[in-house]
Every structure is written in C-alpha cells, then in structure tokens.
Amino acid sequence: MNWTNSLPLAVLMTSFLAAMIIFMLPESRHRLRSSINIAAACLKLVLIILLLQVVLRQDYPEVSLEVLPGLSLILRADALAMLFAGLSSVLWLFTTLYAIGYLENSPNRSRFFGYFSLCVASTMGISLAGNLFTFLIFYELLTLSTYPLVVHRGTEASLRAGRTYLIYTLGGGVVLLVGVAALYALGGDIPFGNTEQTAALVGTWPGWMALIFALLIAGLGVKAAIFPFHGWLPTAMVAPAPVSALLHAVAVVKAGAFGIVRVVYDIYGIELAWQQGLLWPLTLIASFTILYGSWRALQQVDIKKRLAFSTVSQVSYIILGISLFGPLGTIGGLVHLLHQGLMKVTLFFCAGNYAETLGIHKIHELDGVGKRMPLTSAAFTLGALGMIGLPPVAGFISKWYLGTGALEAGMDWVILVLISSSLLNAAYFLPVLQRIWFNPQQGDWPDEMITRWRDTTPLLLIPALVTATLSLLAGLFASSVLSPLSWAELITLREYLP
C-alpha cells in the first residue's frame, strides 16, 4: 500500500492521540499539555499540506475498514474534504493558542483540552469521511465531544444550554441516522461521489429518495442551524469563547453545512437534485434563515448572542450557495464555508478578549473600547465589515459569487435577500463599530484585568489578529492561487465537469 493512503488516518490520529494523551495527563502539567496541543496542531497542519499536494495530483488517498457486512468505514481525501480539513486544521491551531491563553489559570483544563482535541478529531473525520455512514459516525462523535465543552463552566446556565444543545443535536443525529439507514436499505453503501448509483435509485423510487433527501437535510440542518432548528446556537453561548469559536466557525455548524454539501453534490449530485426539484425548497429555507437570523441578531444586546444569530444567518449563506444550481453559486457556497469560518472565529476571539480583558459582555459597554484595545478592535472591525460583505474583506467575495450565482440559476429574488441581509448586517454591526471607535468611554470598565500589555495578553491577541489578517487577505488576494476562492473554483470545476 502506498504511503499516501495512510495520510488521512494520520491526520485523524494526530488530534485523536493528542486527546488521549491529554486525558491521561494530570491536571497540573500545564506546560506539557500546551506543548502537546500545539505540536499536534502543527503536525496536523503539515500532514494536511502533504495531503493537499497529493490531492492536487488528482489521486485521492483512501483507507477503508469493513465494520458491518457490506458496510465499511471509509476515509478518503478528495478536494472537497481538503477544503474543510484545511480550514479546521488552520483554525484549530489558532483556536488552541487562543484557548491556552483564555483558560490560563482556570480549572479543568485537562478535561477541556482533551475534549477539544477529540472534537477536532471528529471534525477531521467528518471532512475526510468517504461515505455517509462514516460521516454519520463522526457527526455523532462531534456531538458527544462538544457537549463537555458546552457545559464546561458547570454552572446552571451552561448545563441548561448543554441540555438544549443535546436535545437539538441528538434529535438531528437520529433523523440523519434514519435517513442514512433508509438510503442504505434502498441502495446499499454509496460512497461519496458516485452519483450515478443514486440516479438509478431516484429513477426507481423518486418519492422515497425525495423523502430521504428531506430527512438527511433536516438531520444536518440541525447542526447547520437552519431556521426551525437554530435554537441551540444562541443558548450555547454560555460556553467559553474558544468553544463558541469552535462551535460557530470551525466544527459544529460547519459540519452541518459540509454535510449538506456532501449530500447535495456527492450523494445526489447537483444536476439530479436540481432536476428533481429538491433544491428550491432549500433555497427558500436558507433565504428565510438568512433574514430571520439577521433580524433576531438586531435585537440582541449581548455581544455573543448577537454574533450567534449572525452565525445563524451567515451559515445559511453557505446553504444558499449550495442550493443554487450553477458553478458560481457553488463557488459562493464553498468559499463562504471558509470565509465565514475565518471571519466568525475572529469575531468570537475579539468578543472573548473584551470579556476576558475588560469584562465586557453587553454591547452598550463597548463605548470607546477602541482606545483601550485598538488591535482587538481593529480585528473585530475587519470581521464585522466582512460579515456585512464590504470589500476587501473576504465576505464580499462570497457575497459577490452568491449574487451572481443566484442570477445564473435564474433566481433573481435571491439578490433581494442578499441585499436586505447585508442591510441588516450593517444595521447590527455598524452601531457596534460606532460605539467602539467613536463613542467616548462611559465610566470605567466592568471588570478590568490588569496586564502589562497595552491591549491584552499576546496569546489572546495574536490569534485574533492572525485570523483577521487571513480573512482580509482571503478577500484582498482572492484570485491568487493560494486563496480559498481558487480552491473552491478547483472543486467546482471537478464537480461540474461531466
């Protein structure tokens, strides 16, 4: 067996083993734990880069293991998988750094980082899954490994949030399970990518396949926080900031969206889904979610809550892009998968910095914080502008492709959705920026942490700055070969080529 075939497994294992080791470590070994974390993250990044080289050469390493008669676990690295894997491995590095800084001298770090790594391992599994069954396994694993992070604080509120989170995600997981099982019952084990198999099935049982599609989307939609199922996201806000970042930008929400990508492109095939008229309801729901999320965000006074609802709407951009038939829409959806990740993680880092450094949780407390924490605020501004979709931040690129994609798919009304969503985004982000930069400071900060640093501690600051810069560069040099955009274009090219 060729050595590249073991790469996906290695990518998975780096964080999994890290998790195991960290669980074994005693609570007190902080430095060792941190170094293990960072080492694992860097190692994974290296592996991912190796894997990218391989995938660019058009061969897709694969490992599989038969767990049940006729049903096997498949880890396969294709272009799409690399998109997500790349994102999460990059963001994991920074989130880890941030978390190390954020949780400095707070209890239960061993537990936290253990599950943290486990969560990333399952994200890797999701991205590298080669069939729905494998996907399902890691999808559920993700649920399990994120629960301890959500309830990490152990307060009543966080426990309640954890319960809500579980009710939603487990419910979704079960629906997904039924969908997957039904699909398997009809057509056996369908690896991602051979859509002709599905096409045959659709030919035989169109009704059933439509139902299964609905089930799958509903099951995934829970994590992707599509409208009726978005309730867990804002409540999960009680979690520590790195966790929120993880939930919103890297792992959970993205897992749902990515799953929908897989289902639409690699199970049903975009053409087929479009011909069967399965896509337009998705477009409708996504559009509604976009508007609804933005509208609810407008009413929040808590920073993280506002960000949460903005996530609800932003993730539906991805779904929207997926549901638009045509390369441009696809590019928009895929590239937003990355861009939203970068921007949102930045925003959450910054929110965390405000909370950690100055004890700011509410928006009205942000007055004049730009003077006190200029760099953090600059990063926050970048993220916010990106969310509004202003150039040159990455968000604009996604929006541009979504809009053109909508026109290409002949759904002109989507433009209205995008426009009004941007308006709402502006309406709930610009006042915040106004407060940060232009309002004078009201009184002294709620709970100021005394550091020798002007802004905040480097471990909190640097990740935010880096991700902010990345999201800026991703937009500014969108057409360079290294940009997310060109990778998304590559994937789309392979997707739409017959």
Binding site: P391, P392, I397, W400, G403, T404, G475, S479
Partner: protein, 560 residues
C-alpha cells in the same frame, strides 16, 4: 513595471501606507504632514500619460488605469485634497482628536483616489465603500449631537446607496454573462440586458446618493455644516463628484437612447437646480447654503447627462465639458468652504484681498468670471445642437438660483464676522485658501488649455450670462428689506423621515420584544406520580402479571 505604473499603484496605496504609519507611536505627530503628502502621487500621475496596470491576484483580478476623464478628476481631486489638508494643518492645530481625523482623512482620500483609477467594478466598489465609510468618521468628527445625527443619516443613506449599487452591479455582471468585471464591458453590456431599466435604476440612484440628486440629497446639507471645514470642502468638492464619475463610467452613455431616462434626469436636474436654491436661501448656516448650492450645481450636471441620454451623439462633445464643469465646481466650492473658516481672521489680511477672495469663487460659481464663466459657456455651446432651446434658457436662469444662494452665503458670512473675532491667525489656512482661490479662478487657463477660449472672443455669449444675476441681485436687494423671515431646518425632508423611522422602529421593537417564551406546558406531575406508583405495585403483583401474560399469549395463539 514602469514609473507610471508604480505611481498608479501608489495613488491609492500611498495614503493607506501613510495611514498605517500614523498608527505607530512615532508617526502620530506627523499625521497632518502625512495627509499633505498623501495626494502627491495622484497629482503627479494626473500629469502623466495614460497608464494601465492589471493586478490579476488582487480581488477578482483588478485592472487600474487612467483615462482622459479620470485624469482630470484625479487632478482636481488631488489638488483639492492637498490644499484642504494644508488648510487643515492650521484648522486642527488645537484639536485633540486631530490624529484620528487625519487617519480617517487618509482612508477617505485613498478611497476617493482609488475609485478614480480603478477600471473594474470590484475594486471600484471597494474604493467607493472605503470612501463612504471612512467619510463617516470625518462627518462626525466633533462628536456633537448634530454631528452624530448627520453622521447617522449619512450612513443610512450611504448604505442604501451601496446596496442599490451592489444589486446594479450584480445584474450588470449578469448582463455580461459573468464573463467580465471591467466597467467598460458592463456599460456596453447593459443595453442588451433583459433588465436594462432595472440596472440603470439601481446604478443611477445608487450613485445618486453621493451626487445628491433630489430626495437622495438629504444627508448633504446636514453633513457639510457639521464636518470640520477641510472635510466639508472635500466632501462637497471632491467626494460628491465620485457619484458623477461613477455615472460616467458605468452608465451606458453614448450608446443607449432612452427618452424616459432623459426626461427623468432632466427633470431631476432642474428640480435640484432650483429647488435646492429655494431651500438654500432659507438656511441660516453658511455651510448649509453652500451644501444646497452644491446640490443645485450637481443638478446641472445631472441635466447634462439627461441630454446625453436624449441624444447619445452628444457624448463626445459634452464629456470634456462635463468634466471641466466638475473641476470648476470642485475648486470653486472648495474655495468657498475654506473661506468660511477664514472669515474670523480677516483682520490680519487687508479687507480688500479678503473680500476679493470671497467674491471671486462666488462669482465664478455664478458663472460671471473665471472658470465658472467658461464652464457655463462650454455647456451651452455643447447643448445648442439639441432640439430644445428652452433647456439653454433654463440653464441661463439657473444662474439666478446660484446667485441668490451666493448672496445669502455672503450675507451670512458677514453676520458671522460681526459676531466672533476670537480666532488666532494662521498662515497655513490663509495660504491654502488663497491658492485654492487662484486655482479655481485660473482653472481654464491652467488645467483645460484645450477647451480654453478667452472670454473676449465670445462677447455676446458672455454678455448673456450677466442679465440673470443682475436681475436676481436687484430682487434680493429689494427682498433684503421686506422679506418674510422664513427659514427651513437643515436637511429639509429628513425631519419627516426621521419621525417616520422613529415611529416605525418603536413599532418594530415593540413587536420584536413582545414575543415571550411559550407558557410552560400543563403540569404532568400527577401523571408522573401515578406512573411512579405503578412500579412497586407491579413489583408486588409480579406473579399475577406472569399469569396474565401466559393467558394473553395463549389467547393470541389461538386467535391468530
């Protein structure tokens, strides 16, 4: 890359670099100087041959270039920004927030220059947005309540505009089947598109917000007075022209004949030209008056565009004229704005010079002297071969509007001058002001030699310019004694809208926050308790259950 290309690259980048420089501790002291230096590449570039620079990795593959129009725009934009910056050096001497002002100034500048050189819509949109949002900071610089209000309105309308523009761009790029993002290709493709009208609507009104066409002008008279004088000078002189520039770049001028749009534009133009005057003369702040005058001047340009829609062939003759008009208005209006700051220090310079400095730009704006006269003449000349002569007459009459505005302005200045004489003198301000006055006066000779024909060679046409202002002067002199003391609050319509929006917002928030969490479901305690008691009962009756089960099983077997 040649030197020209380097300059082209630096034109928008250089201000950004300087802005970054002002963020490092050392650079803060030199923020003002940075602002002055920032315009130099642009100024230089405007004097060079046309250059073209394509940056494939930037955004979606940007293309920057300079063309005849854009060079003229670059010229006066850079000039105005430069001189205003110099002026600002003095104006903001004692200002505590000077540094942040200059940072925003540099950002805005970069946006303004960038949109003039960018040939593709993406980078154009980028710079346009940069200018708009950074401009907000300039507007609300002195955080007074009125400034914040003005800023809010500015922002709201600007975002509305942005969104209109964006949708217009979406549709336009669809018109090219998403093959190209070059403005020129888009403009060419628009007429073929199935939503041509919609696209035109979006683009025209989207940029119209900047250009201050009626009903979208609301932010202007609010923003200009509250902004620091140099800022209002560039706002009203340069940034307002960005709208015009965008129209020239993106609207399918010269190949799209549409009487509908012609009518719309011409009517809007006239409404602006005269309506603004009506509102303006009833203002109490000199800067507000100037703002209204800007609106009315932009009205003339809108009108000219309308004529091009009426008769596309006019594009070629009118384009340079329009550009020159923009240049003239930019400089003259800039000079006037700067003069509002000067008035306090008149005692250091001879009164004669001072009032001359006041009068020259005013007269030129009315169209009696210098650049203004030429602009008017060229405009009329361009429009002569249009079927409707009434248009010419109307333009001539519009001088009345300007005249009355200028009179009002000067009168208000006089009032102000009598009130405060506290300010200390400052050479920077005086020098820059004087320079701008001169520039605006000799603009034709210096900057538009190709269009320039001395006035004495066309005495009749020139004479025609005189009678309207003269008449207006007499009327206003008469009015000055028995005029009703009306006045209109700044930002006329805004008050209405604000009330409406406030009411709407309250209503919405009422609905938004009214929805409570659903009432807890009917308590199931009783049921639970009953079920709980079931368990031990079954426990003690297990044998009975066993028997029952056996019976049931047998019955089942025998029945089925």
């Amino acid at each position: 890359m040649t030197l020209d290309q380097w300059l082209l690259l630096l034109t928008p980048i250089w201000p950004l670099l300087l802005a970054a420089l002002t963020c490092i501790p050392g650079g803060q002291r030199h923020a003002g100087t940075a602002a002055v230096l920032a315009c130099l590449p642009a100024l230089w570039l405007s004097q060079l041959a046309y250059t073209h620079l394509s940056l494939p990795t930037l955004l979606l593959g940007s293309v920057w270039q300079t063309l005849p129009i854009s060079q003229t725009f670059l010229l006066f934009t850079a000039l105005l920004w430069l001189l205003s910056a110099l002026y600002g050096l003095g104006y903001l001497q004692k200002d505590s927030r000077a540094v942040s002002f200059w940072r925003l100034w540099l950002l805005t500048l970069s946006g303004n220059l960038g949109l003039l050189v960018s040939a593709d819509i993406i980078s154009f949109y980028l710079f346009f947005a940069l200018m708009t949002f950074a401009g907000y900071g300039l507007v609300i610089h002195n955080r007074s309540a009125s400034a914040l209000r003005a800023g809010r309105i500015y922002l709201v309308m600007a975002i509305m505009g942005e969104m209109l523009i964006l949708s217009g761009l979406f549709l336009a790029s669809a018109a090219t089947a998403h093959t190209s993002i070059l403005s020129s290709d888009l403009a060419r493709a628009i007429p073929e598109s199935s939503h041509a009208q919609l696209i035109l609507f979006c683009l025209f009104f989207g940029f119209g917000v900047k250009a201050g066409i009626p009903l979208l002008h609301l932010w202007l008279p609010l923003a200009h007075p509250v902004a620091p004088t140099p800022a209002s000078a560039v706002l009203s002189g340069a940034m307002i022209k960005a709208g015009l520039f965008a129209w020239l770049g993106l609207l399918p001028l010269g190949e799209f004949q549409s009487s509908l749009w012609a009518a719309t534009l011409i009517i809007l133009g006239f409404t602006a030209a005269f309506g603004a005057a009506l509102l303006g003369v009833l203002q109490n702040a000199p800067k507000a008056v100037l703002a209204y005058s800007s609106i009315s001047q932009m009205g003339l340009m809108t009108l000219t565009l309308g004529c091009i829609f009426l008769q596309p062939s006019l594009l070629l003759p009118l384009l340079p004229v329009l550009t020159f008009f923009a240049l003239h208005h930019a400089l003259a209006k800039g000079a006037l704005f700067l003069s509002t700051g000067i008035n306090a220090q008149y005692q250091t310079i001879p009164v004669v010079l001072f009032s001359l400095g006041m009068l020259l730009p005013a007269l030129s704006l009315i169209g009696l002297l210098g650049s203004g006269a030429h602009a008017k003449l060229l405009l009329k000349a361009g429009l002569y071969d249009l079927p409707l002569n009434s248009l010419i007459l109307a333009i001539t009459l519009s001088a009345a509007a300007t005249t009355s505005l200028m009179l009002r302005f000067l009168w208000l200045l006089k009032q102000q001058r009598q009130q405060d004489t506290t300010e200390s003198t400052n050479t920077w301000m005086q020098l820059s002001w004087a320079a701008l006055v001169l520039c605006s006066f000799f603009a034709p000779q210096w900057f538009a030699a190709d269009l320039f024909t001395p006035l004495y060679q066309q005495p009749l046409a020139y004479a025609e310019l005189w009678w309207v202002p003269a008449l207006t002067l007499l009327i206003s002199l008469w009015l000055r004694h028995h005029a009703p003391r009306w006045q209109i609050l700044q930002g006329d319509m805004v008050i209405v809208f604000e009330q409406a929006s406030r009411w709407l917002a309250s209503a919405l928030t009422a609905t938004a926050f009214s929805h409570k969490a659903p009432a807890p479901a009917m308590s199931t305690k009783a049921v639970q308790a009953w079920l709980a008691r079931l368990e031990p009962r079954c426990r003690s009756q297990i044998a009975a259950l066993f028997g029952l089960l056996l019976l049931l099983a047998n019955l089942l077997i025998w029945w089925f």
